[in-house]
């Protein structure tokens, strides 16, 4: 029997709420030799972790539920929330089962956190995971293949088993399938946003940060079937793209508030790792070369990635608007988030040049007060309607 959306989302919500990561603990305990590999936004090649017999675990901070006590002692007031709540998760032993922690090249805060982790949790294998900002195969590609090879060695060392090419190809295939399903959920929501509320899609994607890929793909399939089978009321909402939330996550309530105030979210950049590659990574041939090729030539755009061509700067957002038939863009960025906030004016310029309306606000993962955001988003939704029906 196919579960209902309510049942699927209840499971996702439980996973989301569980800051002790019971699922991952049980997964690890179920078979000797298993490892859990934590990673932070925005991207790591999860295929490699999977091929090493590991569970990739997205560590996205403590959200609104976690009371940060010790973590605050490590950060000044003018630094975003996610590193402090991540430290809190660490020092309260909530991540004590994690064997390897990966810190991708997203910003100086996460970069420095990689070194903090080495000092504070010396038993954990911590690695700063660099990605190339040069997109030539023989330059950035070569560098990246080395990075991937080093990561593969680290994972093999942690799991005590070599990571073979065949295993990696099989993992790539599984993640291709998963990403295709993620893209399908996004496309489904863009077509019928009333059938797939954003809070649900968000929780479904968050589950992908926790559960094994095979299980997540099953959840996505079931959700697609269940959401299509249900009939939900269609509101006269405006259609918006939310951008800037690719690292520290907004509170779930913020996502709900945007929809409640009259905006259907038809695209977003929460958890980019879920659909970083735009289409399948090649499965035949050298798997590291294939992963590198996908990163260089077939991956998403975000602030952490250099755009070599000025003419293309910011067009990814315009394309997202067009693809999803959105009517406006909401810049929702964590306070003190350099990548999001430095990128914002450039994106706004591009949107203005394409006559796409936008608003902007900041949040923290533990923001409680939603009223101002609701009002701002509500006014935006109304103005979009006026704009499109003069």
């Amino acid at each position: 029997m196919i579960p209902t959306t309510t049942e699927i989302i209840a499971r996702c919500q439980a996973l989301f709420d569980d800051l002790n990561f019971t699922y991952a603990r049980e997964w690890k305990a179920a078979r000797p030799g298993r490892i859990v590999v934590g990673y932070m936004p925005f991207y790591v090649p999860r295929e490699l972790i999977h091929a090493a017999g590991g569970l990739p675990l997205g560590v996205l901070g403590g959200g609104e539920q976690l009371e940060v006590i010790q973590g605050d002692a490590y950060y000044q007031s003018y630094i975003c929330r996610i590193p402090r709540s991540t430290i809190e998760l660490g020092v309260t032993n909530r991540l004590d089962f994690v064997d390897v922690m990966l810190f991708p090249s997203i910003c100086d805060v996460i970069r420095n956190l990689s070194g903090m982790w080495k000092i504070m949790f010396p038993k954990v294998r911590s690695r700063y995971f660099d990605v190339p900002q040069n997109y030539r195969d023989d330059v950035g590609g070569e560098f990246y293949i080395h990075e991937l090879a080093e990561l593969r060695d680290l994972l093999a060392e942690a799991s005590g088993q070599p990571v073979g090419d065949d295993a990696l190809r099989a993992s790539i295939a599984l993640y291709n399938e998963n990403r295709a399903l993620v893209r399908e959920v996004y496309a489904f929501r863009a077509r019928q946003p009333w059938q797939a509320p954003s809070a649900e899609v968000y929780l479904l994607m968050r589950a992908g940060m926790i559960v094994a890929v095979e299980e997540h793909s099953r959840m996505l399939r079931e959700y697609l079937a269940a959401a299509a089978a249900e009939n939900r009321p269609r509101r006269d909402n405006s259609r918006v793209v939310v951008t800037g939330a690719f690292c520290e996550q907004p509170p779930l309530n913020l996502i709900k508030s945007i929809e409640l105030s009259g905006c259907y979210i038809v695209d977003d950049d929460f958890m980019l790792v879920n659909r970083w590659e735009r289409s399948d990574v090649a499965e035949a041939g050298d798997p590291l070369a294939n992963l590198a090729d996908a990163y260089l030539h077939n991956s998403g755009d975000t602030s952490a990635k250099y755009e070599p061509d000025q003419a293309k700067k910011g067009l990814y957002l315009v394309e997202a608007v067009k693809r999803t038939r959105a009517e406006g863009v909401i810049f929702a960025s964590p306070s003190f988030c350099d990548p999001a906030l430095l990128e914002r004016p450039m994106l706004q310029q591009v949107l203005a040049a394409h006559d796409i309306p936008f608003i902007a606000f900041k949040y923290a993962e533990n923001s409680g007060q939603m009223q101002p955001i609701r009002e701002q988003a509500g006014t935006f939704a109304d103005s979009i309607k006026l704009w499109s029906n003069p």
Binding site: Y75, Q76, I79, G115, I119, Q133, V139, Y306, K313
Partner: protein
């Protein structure tokens, strides 16, 4: 007592030389178009001055413009201008000071119009913001941009792969663009000559910085240090002028050392060295003199600082090497202070604490700068734990006057100096009891 009417900081011949060099470079920038000179804009950490010079190009450094404008108290207005134009109050104020200056006509610190760059040479070393900063400038100038991605020393070491990646980018990306923009063909022998001059200047700079191991230290390695690093961090590394500057400086400091003198301050010679500190983090520029005074009034001398390593770390032995020109440029970029991981930064500070016989560590945490600031509270704890010496934490900003609170900082410093006194008294009585 110090002189209540501070005279200009340091009037030795090295200082005069440096002033002339800076003025000369701004002068050249101002007449660049008339003189047919091409201009590269680039950053201090990972700057490739020796390479830029091979193409007869001038070097304009937005960070230095922001600093100079900060010291002239112009940045407050520029930052507000940038914020009015949609730049967030949360981001690096160097960026906003630069964008605000451009928005208001791009008048440089000396009151003359700065040229539009012909090339943005984006050396992405030690700070993520650099990339966004130059994307913002590129949107403004629509000029050619060369990206040099310098990988971070995540595991605290420079690997062969990193070096070869940077060298490849130099060969395939940076040098061809410099050739195209300048119309000058690359001559590796010219680069070697420039690098040989760099190494000579670096040798003398290291000697000057290490003179602070003496008691009393003849230099202040932070407030004075920012002057000493000026030429080598900016448009002069690799020039004969820089060689000459460091030769003069070394001779002057040598004399001070021989005479047992302390550092020069804006109030004249510092008579009495009471506290020896290591400082982590950049200074505040808008109230630089006021900030410095809080130290020399108390007899506090900074004997080593990390900020003076941000545009190149030479005291661990690295020198530009004419025999390995591109590789050594790569290693230079990879080795800059903020490109080192946090454990390596802590090791360096701990080493300074010991080698320079410091009484403690002071962290000036900069609101703007995540590259420096994120993690500094752990740095503080670790240094206290490893050295047993007291550490203190103050907060300010680089060029945003809104975030420099003199009363708070002064209070904090005073209690810190008391803490150092108590710690000393404690260790003396413990030694007596033993």
């Amino acid at each position: 007592m110090t002189n209540p009417n501070p005279s200009p900081a340091i009037k030795d011949s090295s200082m005069l030389k440096q002033k002339a060099m800076i003025a000369g470079n701004y002068g050249k920038l101002e007449t660049a178009a008339a003189d047919g000179r091409k201009v590269a804009a680039t950053f201090v950490p990972g700057n490739l001055n020796e390479l830029i010079m091979c193409f007869d190009m001038l070097n304009n450094l937005p960070e230095i413009n922001a600093i100079q404008n900060g010291m002239r108290k112009k940045t407050g207005g520029y930052i507000m201008e940038a914020e009015k134009r949609g730049h967030s109050e949360d981001v690096c104020t160097y960026v906003k000071a630069d964008l605000g200056m451009i928005a208001k006509g791009n008048i440089g610190p000396d009151g003359q119009k700065l040229p539009d760059p012909d090339l943005l040479l984006l050396s992405y070393t030690g700070c993520f913001t650099f990339m966004k900063w130059f994307e913002l400038l590129r949107a403004q100038y629509k000029c050619e941009t060369a990206m040099l991605h310098v990988p971070y020393q995540g595991d605290g070491k420079i690997t062969k792969t990193m070096v070869s990646y940077v060298v490849k980018q130099l060969k395939e990306e940076v040098i061809p663009k410099l050739e195209r923009v300048s119309g000058v063909a690359f001559d590796i022998d010219r680069l070697r000559e420039n690098l040989a001059r760099s190494a000579r200047a670096e040798e003398d700079l290291v000697w000057v910085l290490e003179s602070a191991k003496a008691r009393p230290s003849p230099i202040d390695a932070y407030f004075g240090g920012v002057y000493y690093i000026g030429p080598i961090f900016t448009a002069f590394r690799g020039t004969e002028d820089a060689v000459e500057y460091y030769r003069l400086l070394r001779a002057e400091i040598g004399e001070r050392l021989a005479r047992g003198q302390g550092p020069v301050t804006p109030a004249g010679d510092m008579p009495d060295e009471r506290y020896r500190l290591v400082v982590e983090g950049p200074p505040n520029w808008t109230s630089f003199r006021e900030f410095w005074k809080m130290f020399y009034d108390e007899g506090a001398v900074v004997v080593a600082s990390t900020y003076s390593k941000v545009g190149g770390l030479y005291d661990l032995g690295f020198r530009h090497d004419p025999d390995r020109p591109l590789e050594s440029l790569a290693e230079y970029c990879l080795g800059c202070y903020t490109n080192r991981n946090l454990p390596a930064r802590i090791d360096l500070i701990a080493q300074y604490m010991e080698e320079y016989q410091a009484d403690g560590l002071l962290i000036n945490s900069i609101k703007s700068c995540n590259s420096f600031s994120a993690g500094q509270l752990l740095v503080l704890r670790e240094i206290e734990r490893r050295t047993g010496k007291p550490a203190a934490f103050i907060e300010s900003d680089l060029v945003d006057p809104r975030y420099f609170s003199p009363a708070n900082i002064k209070n904090r410093l005073e209690s810190y100096f008391q803490m150092v006194d108590q710690r000393r008294a404690g260790s003396k009585s413990a030694a007596r009891a033993a």
